[in-house]
Subunit: 123 residues, 2 copies
């Protein structure tokens, strides 16, 4: 699988998990992982998923507009940059967002999220 296909597969997996089983995202982070969510900095898989599961909405649906990826300087690391829309249940309009991930390989041959920065793009 080339890097672009791998990035798209990661992105699809990430947002499908977010929308259907947010607590399951814990497997994608490690203790060293960093999330900056709307300017708030959080470190560690447990803390990150505690933040994501405590967001003030229950149902949401991400739809992805663009996925760009580049190799990072880390061995087999990958930078993934996403833009898309976030539809919350009961809200008329979708919210636009941008998010970046720095993925690093695990010894098991998979990837984890080393860095994650999320921002809503207010109109």
């Amino acid at each position: 699988m080339d890097a672009d296909a791998l990035a798209k597969a990661f992105v699809e997996h990430y947002y499908t998990t977010f929308d259907n089983n947010r607590a399951g995202l814990v497997n994608l982070y490690q203790d060293s992982s960093l999330l900056t969510f709307e300017g708030q900095k959080i470190q560690g898989a447990q803390n990150i998923v505690a933040k994501l599961t405590s967001l003030p909405f229950n149902q949401c649906l991400h739809s992805i507009t663009t996925v760009d990826c580049q190799p990072s300087s880390a061995p087999n690391g990958m930078l993934v940059f996403v833009s898309g829309n976030l539809q919350l249940a009961g809200e008329q309009h979708a919210l636009k967002f941008s998010q970046m991930f720095h993925l690093l390989p695990t010894p098991q041959g998979s990837y984890y999220v080393s860095n994650d920065i999320f921002r809503l793009n207010y109109a």
Copy 2:
């Protein structure tokens, strides 16, 4: 200077240079640098600046809304995530954009842009 202040100083320098002397951005990239601009992948300082200086507008003004940064796994590397508005001369409405930079240290104690991904956020 802490990481947040350093990221903000870089961002201010980058967009001031972009808006006033776009060709001067060449000093911020190296031959290994990658730019993905609206999905188009470009490598190397000269090619990147050739792309940026050939964009179909002469005057523009970036205004920055948010700057987030995190240490990357690279030694002294830094991920910088920017959102903002881009006003082109003669256009009534500003364009919203998001951009991420992966900065790596130079032997001279400064930073260069190793990775750069830019996307307009269409309304």
